[in-house]
Amino acid sequence: MTTFLSQVERLQAPEIDYGAVAPLLIVLGAACLSVLVEAFLPKASRWAAQVVLTFATLVAAGLVLLQYAVAEGTPKQGTITFAGTVAVDQPVIFLWATLLMLGLGSVLLIADRSVEPGGAIVADASILPGAVNGLREQLRRREMQTEVFPLTLFALGGMMVFVAANDLLTMFIALEVMSLPLYLMAGLARRRRLLSQEAAVKYFLLGAFASAFFLYGVALLYGFAGSVKLADIASATTATDRSDTLLYAGFGLLIVGLLFKASVGPFHSWTPDVYQGSPTPVTAFMAACVKVAAFGGILRVLYGAFERSSWEWNGVLWAVAIASMVIGAVLGLTQTDVKRMIAYSSVAHAGFLLIGAISLNDAGLSGTMFYLLAYGFTTIAAFGVVSLVRNADGEATHLSQWAGLAKRSPVAAGVFTFLLLALAGLPLTSGFVGKFAVFAAAIEAGLTPLVVVALVASAVAAFFYLRVIVLMYFSEPAADGPTVSVPGAFTAIAITLGAAITLVLGVYPPDVLEWAGAGVFIF
C-alpha cells in the first residue's frame, strides 16, 4: 500500500501543448456547445444558430491551424503532446487542414434548405414512415433535425484525433468518436426513410463488428509489445524475443478494422448500401472526410509501427489493393444507381490510395495525402450535383433517369462530366495529378506490378464514368425525366468550390504537392 501511494505522489500531469492541439479543442468544444444549443434554444431558431456556430467553428479552427503552421515558434518536425498520445507534425497539419476544408464543404451541403424544401435531413427522425400522414408530415415540415450539426462536429473531431493518434488506444477511442455519429447521420434522410434506416443499421452492425476486430488487434499488439504506443511497437518488431504469432495476428486484425473504415477491397460490402441509403450530403461527408481520416490512420500505423516489419505483411496488402481495385472497377460497371456507382468508384480509389500507403517512402506519403485532398473535393462536388437532379419523389439517382440531362441543364451536365473525368484521372484534373503522384511513388518503391494492375483498373473504371457522360449527352431525355434544381447559395458554393479545386489542382499542383511533402510523421 505504501509503495502504491508513493507511486501516486510521483505521478505528474502531462504537459499539453495547447497551441498545437487548439484546432482539435475548438472543434470538440464547439460540438459540446452545439449540443447545448440543441437543448436550450427554441426549435425555430436552432437551424440558424447551428449553421452559424458550425461554420464559425470550422473557420476558426482552420485559422488557428494556419496560424500555428506558419508561426515562428512552431517546431518544424512537429510536436508530441498529451503524454505522447497525440502527435502534431507536418502530415497531421496537412490532414487536419484537409479535414476542415472538406468538413466545411460537407456542412454546406448538409445545411442547404433550398434544393429540398427544408433540407435533405429529416424533420423529426422519430416520425414513422408508415404512420398515417407520416410521410406527408415529413415533407410538409420545413425544418430539419438540427442534431445533425453537433453529430458532424463530433465526427470531425474524432477524425482529427484519429489521424493524429500516436498510440492505438487513442486511435480506437477516436475511431468510435468518429463512427458513432456517422451511424446516426446515415439514418437521417428526409425521403426514403426505410432505405436510410436500413443503411444506418447495416453501417452500425458492420462498423461495430469491424471495431471489435480493430480492438482485438490492439490487445494482441499490446501483448506483443507491452505497450500500445506506435514507437514502442516499432521497436518491438525489431527485437527477436517477441512472439511473432501475436504480431501477425495483431497486425492482421488491426488492419482489417482500418481497411473496413477506408472501404477498401474485400471489406467494402457496406459501402454501396450505406452510400445509397444515407442522405446525399451525409454520403458526401462520409465519402470525403472518412476516407481522409481512415487513410490518415492507415498511413500513420504503417509508417509508425510496422515500417520495419513491412516484408512480413506487404504481400497481404498487395493482394488487398489488387482486390479493391478489381472489385471497384468491375462491380462499378454493373451499377444502375449513380450513388452506388460512385460508391464502387470509391472502392477502386481506395485501392489506388492503398498502393500509395504501402509504398512506405516519402513520395508515397505526400502522394497519398495529395490524392486524399483531391479526391475529397471531387467527391463532395459530385454528390452536390447528384442532389440537384430530382423528380417528384426526391433525388432521381437511377442512371436511366439521367439520360439526356445535358439538354435539360448543360451546366449541371458539364460540371458532372468534368468531375467524372477527374475521378477517371484524365489530365488537367486533380485526379490525374493524384494518380500520377501515387503511381510514381509506388514505382520508386518497386511496386511496378501493382501500378500495372492499377492502370488497367483505371481504364476499366473510366468506362463506367464515360458511360454516364455518353448517357447525359447523347441520349434523348425521357418525357417524365427529372429536372435539375437551381441550387441555393450553400450547395452552389460547395459544388463550385469542389469543382474549382479539382481544376486548380489539375492545372497547377506544385504548391499543394510541396505542402503535402513538407515533412514526415514523427512518433
Binding site: 477511442i173 446516426l184 434506416q197 443499421v201 452500425f204 452492425l205 461495430a208 463488428f209 471489435a212 480492438l215
Partner: protein
C-alpha cells in the same frame, strides 16, 4: 494458473461472438455478440497487463467499457428506430438496398 489459459478463453469468446454476428438473425442478438467480442478483448487486455506486470492493460479495459456503453446507446437507438418502422428486428428483413 498460467495466464495463457485466459488468452485462449478470450480467443474462444471472441470467436463465439464473431460466429454469432455471422449466423444470428436478430439485430439485437447480433449486437450482443459484438459486445461479447469487446468483452473478450477486455479479458485479453487484463491478462496481458498481468503478464507484463503493468496497469496499462487494465486502464485500457476501462476505456473499452466506456466505448461499449456509448455504442449501446447509439446501436439500440438505431435498432429501435428500424423496429418501430418494420415491426421486426431481423437483419434479413432489411433487404431493400442491393445491387
Amino acid at each position: 494458473m498460467t495466464p495463457t489459459y485466459y488468452l485462449l478463453l478470450s480467443a474462444l469468446l471472441f470467436s463465439l461472438g464473431a460466429v454469432g454476428v455471422l449466423v444470428r438473425r436478430n439485430a439485437i442478438v447480433v449486437f450482443m455478440c459484438v459486445e461479447l467480442m469487446l468483452n473478450a478483448v477486455n479479458l485479453s487486455l487484463v491478462t496481458f497487463a498481468r503478464i507484463n506486470g503493468q496497469l496499462d492493460g487494465q486502464v485500457m479495459a476501462f476505456f473499452v467499457m466506456v466505448v461499449a456503453a456509448a455504442e449501446v446507446v447509439v446501436g439500440l437507438t438505431i435498432i429501435m428506430a428500424i423496429f418501430k418502422t418494420r415491426r421486426s428486428a431481423s437483419v434479413d428483413d432489411s433487404n431493400l438496398l442491393k445491387y
